[in-house]
């Protein structure tokens, strides 16, 4: 099988596994919705800056929880089996793409729930939605590799948090800026630079993951 076919098969496998148990998606959905509700109960009404910051904090923790599991849900023996039949690059690529899909679905649902519960006027809802999608893609691409690293290091969740928070902050800064532009309803052209930086960081992290994962995988 070529690399792309392997990636396709692995993604399908992940989707089927998820569909059978619906464990991750339901758990994370419940997590997101209850967090939004807790925030609503605590704040009642917030100004735009806090609204934006709160949304990204909820997304950050939801995505860490969602992606943290990506390398530990299958037992080591099965992982050994994958290693003997497929290219390690296919494994990381499939995980990244699968996590991107998962995060996009989660973020979309979270965004709708959040904006229904917390009424807030958005200047440019489409651009805000684009920033949500870009954000979930970026979270997926950075956290997948880091969860790979932390799963090799005995996988305690403290380590995952320590390793991933500094790495995600640059992305988060750009994301918050982009979404603030969307809330204020600035011209699209003013936000192009942020979008390009986000896409560039994604391309870089995925490339580095592809280069590094074969070393990480080998025990």
């Amino acid at each position: 099988m070529t690399l792309l076919q392997q990636v396709k098969t692995l993604i399908l496998k992940d989707i089927i596994l998820e569909w059978r148990s619906k464990y991750a998606i339901n758990g994370i959905l419940l997590y997101v919705v209850s967090t939004v509700f807790v925030c609503y109960q605590a704040f009642k009404s917030v100004d735009t800056t806090v609204w934006n910051a709160l949304f990204w904090i909820i997304m950050l923790f939801a995505s860490i929880n969602a992606i943290n599991k990506s390398f530990v849900q299958e037992n080591p023996n099965r992982q050994l089996y994958y290693y003997s039949v497929v290219d390690p690059r296919a494994i990381i690529l499939a995980k990244v793409i699968y996590n991107m899909l998962l995060m996009t679905i989660l973020a979309t649902i979270a965004y709708f729930v959040y904006s229904i519960i917390f009424q807030n006027p958005l200047g440019d809802p489409t651009l805000y939605f684009i920033s949500v999608i870009l954000g979930s893609i970026s979270f997926a691409s950075v956290f997948t590799m880091i969860s790979g690293i932390s799963s090799k290091a005995g996988n305690n969740s403290t380590l995952m948090a320590i390793l991933s928070f500094p790495a995600i902050i640059p992305l988060l800064i750009v994301l918050i800026k982009l979404s603030r532009n969307a809330i204020e309803g600035l011209e699209r052209a003013a936000s192009m630079r942020e979008i390009i930086v986000l896409l560039a960081i994604n391309v870089i992290t995925i490339t580095i993951s592809l280069l590094l994962f074969p070393y990480l995988w080998r025990d």
């Binding site: 590799m145 880091i146 690293i149 090799k152 290091a153 005995g154 305690n156 380590l159 320590i162 390793l163 928070f165 500094p166 790495a167 902050i169 640059p170 800064i173 750009v174 800026k177 630079r193 942020e194 930086v197 960081i201 870089i204 992290t205 580095i208 993951s209 590094l212 070393y215 990480l216 025990d219």
Partner: protein, 222 residues
């Protein structure tokens, strides 16, 4: 003598920079006044830090390619030295900020970026401590090191350029080149920018050799 010349050179450069930096003539600038002398000490700390981190990444790549433990030791010692210089850079920067901007920690993207970069390398050290087995530790931390480096470059050199910053060279502020960084400052400044990274490399290589000796001793004992 052939191997020592760069160390002597570095010491001479640093001595000259310190003496000239504290006593030499400086232009009278608005707000900055005499504190402009800090440019000889604050900026070179960052240059030393980034050179150290770069060396660390290069040795991590070398380690992954060859699997030689020596390269891993070099990578970790480069990070240790780099973090030390980062703290020096933060300390001198806070002193300077207190005088010119009125508070030691103004909300500035470059400050926050460097703090986060420090966190990232502290996380690297935590990751190393979390792993027991030597080879596994070397490999996983090398992977994290290489993964973190481009993010740090974005954080320190790309993001501050996009936003308003108090530092020169970002958000429409003039860079040192455009700002008539007067010719009185230039020679000492450039000398410092070269001298401190060499000193940092010297410290790093000494620590590396101590590590090698420690390892040898352990091998003899066991």
């Amino acid at each position: 003598m052939r191997k020592k010349w760069w160390k002597i050179l570095a010491v001479l450069i640093i001595c000259a920079v310190i003496i000239n930096g504290l006593l030499g003539p400086v232009p009278r600038l608005f707000i900055l006044h005499e504190s402009i002398r800090n440019v000889y000490f604050h900026v070179p700390m960052w240059s030393a830090m980034i050179v150290m981190y770069l060396i660390s990444v290069i040795y991590s790549v070398k380690y992954l390619n060859t699997g030689k433990q020596e390269y891993d030791l070099m990578a970790i010692e480069a990070v240790n030295t780099g973090i030390t210089f980062c703290f020096f850079g933060l300390a001198t920067g806070m002193l300077w900020a207190n005088i010119t901007w009125g508070e030691p920690w103004p909300n500035d993207p470059k400050l926050n970026g460097s703090a986060i970069a420090t966190l990232m390398y502290l996380a690297y050290l935590v990751l190393r401590n979390a792993l027991e087995e030597e080879q596994k530790r070397a490999k996983i931390s090398a992977v994290y090191n290489i993964f973190a480096f481009p993010i740090i470059i974005v954080l320190l050199y790309i993001l501050p350029k996009m936003t308003d910053s108090l530092h020169p060279g970002s958000g429409g502020n003039a860079t040192f080149g455009q700002l008539q960084m007067s010719n009185e400052l230039r020679p000492t400044f450039y000398a410092a920018m070269i001298g401190w990274p060499i000193i940092a490399f010297w410290i790093c290589s000494m620590r590396y050799r101590v590590r090698l000796l420690e390892r040898k001793e352990q091998e003899i004992d066991s």
